[in-house]
Amino acid sequence: MKENTKINWPINILVAIGTLIILFPLYMALTIALKDPQQMSQSLFGLPTKWRFDNFANAIEVTNFFQAFRNSALVTTATVVLTLLTNSMVAYAIGRNMERSKFFKGLYFYFVSAMFIPFPIIMLPIVKLTASLHMTNLVGLTILHTVYALAFNVFVYVGYIRSIPVALEEAATVDGASTWGTFWRIIFPLMAPINATVGILVCLSTYNDFLLPLIIVSDQDMYTLPLVQYIFQGQFNTDYNLAFASYLLAMLPMIVIYLFAQKWIISGVTRGSVK
């Protein structure tokens, strides 16, 4: 391979220039978050002459950042854990029985066909339902995210489970293991790669979700990070330095995770979408 890799410089330069289009808005966000209005009027595009970390301190205080962060982190973590444990189990029961049982075959199509249902069709009734069940809180958000994830995850998991040879389970059965024990001790560990994919996708979509918290959550103490940015638009008004500091803080946790787990995230998302 190595000997005929001649670097294609024109394309290399074009690819590099293209990244500027991706980075420019983020560069602007970062510099504005570190400037004050006076520096902005002197130079809109330049680096800050004096770094104003006060903007971040103010944003933390005004938006009650740590509370929103805690809410987002709780919902995201709980949803990821609950989704991995429950969705994989449901898909296992379906994947191992859909060939011989009409019931499980029917379940497969029941879950998977929901991928075509656009959220707005259930948006209006779900607000009434969650209110009557007292689910307008973080627990409600977690449950709804987990349940809605089933449609896509059953599809992804079943495809994977059917590629795992049944022989392993049969051996365990001979040794007297229950179906329950077989799943948790033998199959679930084997599903690690697909669990990583599902976990990453669920983490991204839950953390960044705006519409579901917007319609479900009414108590200000329960606001998640995207919701806080929406609610505080009025207060940010024309104080762009404060607003951008707040935006960056909200995006920071995911960016930090991305910096460390970039390779995982990219391959996980690819595998999930190509399924």
Partner: protein, 288 residues
């Protein structure tokens, strides 16, 4: 029933019940309310059967929302796929720092759509206008989000900027499935780059083209967060998407039943477009 089978049933039944309660039931309720004149908060309502549906088809507000959403989705799908494919081809060429560049192109995918919208909102009003003025381009020297005829293009730009990330990575995954031998055979035949792309590369990544077209189209048809962050449906109703209209009309406008009918139509539109797309693109895959 054997103990083994009953365990399998117990693994699924709680999920089925919850799925029915939180997805199927609300969907049925939505269809039910669409035949009434329920306003969302009152105690009583009457059945008006298909009146909501008949009104939908003569309502300009609804018509405009469909026109905006479909126009937006088609344009976004085309641009996203063209740019993603070009970037993926670039990343797949023999270049230095490929993983670094790939990491940057994928970055927008992990960011909140709403917050990206807010950042661009500022850029449109305070940065692009400065460029427009200094370059003497009239269309850019005022905020295009405030222009009734151009605002939709602003939303397109933001959606394309962010959606490219996922589609690029998927095209790149497709390109990496093609072995080098295929190209070597063709360069011996003296085929140019352009012909090489259309007769070798593109047919081989056809399944990825299908996925990307369907994903981009479906996401664009659901556009909501960008509208909230950029235009709030304005100026006037120029950028009111279908899901935004269902949200504002249903929750704030007292049109619970009417917007339920709208969402039933919306569901049918999305399902039909997705199925047609998959059918058409898969037939093309076969031909190639």
């Amino acid at each position: 029933m054997s103990k083994r089978m009953s365990t399998y049933y117990w693994m699924t039944i709680p999920a089925v019940l919850l799925f029915f309660l939180f997805l199927t039931l609300p969907a049925i309720q939505g269809v039910y309310y669409s035949f009434t004149n329920y306003n969302g908060f009152g105690k009583t309502y009457d059945f008006i059967w298909f009146r909501n549906y008949i009104n939908l088809f003569t309502d300009n507000v609804v018509g405009d929302a469909y026109w905006f959403t479909i126009k937006f989705a088609v344009v976004v799908t085309i641009f996203v796929n063209v740019f993603s494919l070009l970037i993926a081809l670039g990343l797949n060429a023999s270049i230095k720092f490929r993983n670094f560049f790939r990491g940057i192109y994928f970055l927008p995918n992990i960011l909140s759509v709403l917050i990206v919208g807010y950042i661009f909102n500022y850029l449109f009003s305070n940065v692009f206008t400065v460029w427009g003025q200094s370059l003497g381009i009239n269309a850019l020297s005022t905020n295009i989000l405030g222009n009734e005829n151009l605002a939709w293009i602003g939303v397109v730009i933001v959606a394309v900027w962010q959606s490219i990330a996922l589609n690029t990575i998927l095209y790149l995954a497709g390109l990496q499935t093609i072995s080098k031998d295929m190209y070597e055979a063709s360069s011996l035949d003296g085929a140019g780059k352009w012909r090489e792309f259309w007769s070798i590369t593109f047919p081989l990544i056809a399944p990825f083209f299908t996925i990307n077209m369907v994903l981009a189209m479906k996401n664009a048809l659901m556009v909501f967060d960008q509208i909230v962050a950029l235009t709030n449906g304005g100026p006037g109703r120029a950028t009111q998407s279908i899901s935004f209209l269902i949200y504002t009309g249903g929750f704030e406008g007292g049109e619970f039943a009417y917007q339920s009918a709208n969402s039933v139509i919306y569901f049918i539109v999305i399902a039909v477009i997705s199925i047609l797309q998959i059918r058409f693109l898969q037939r093309r895959e076969m031909d190639m």
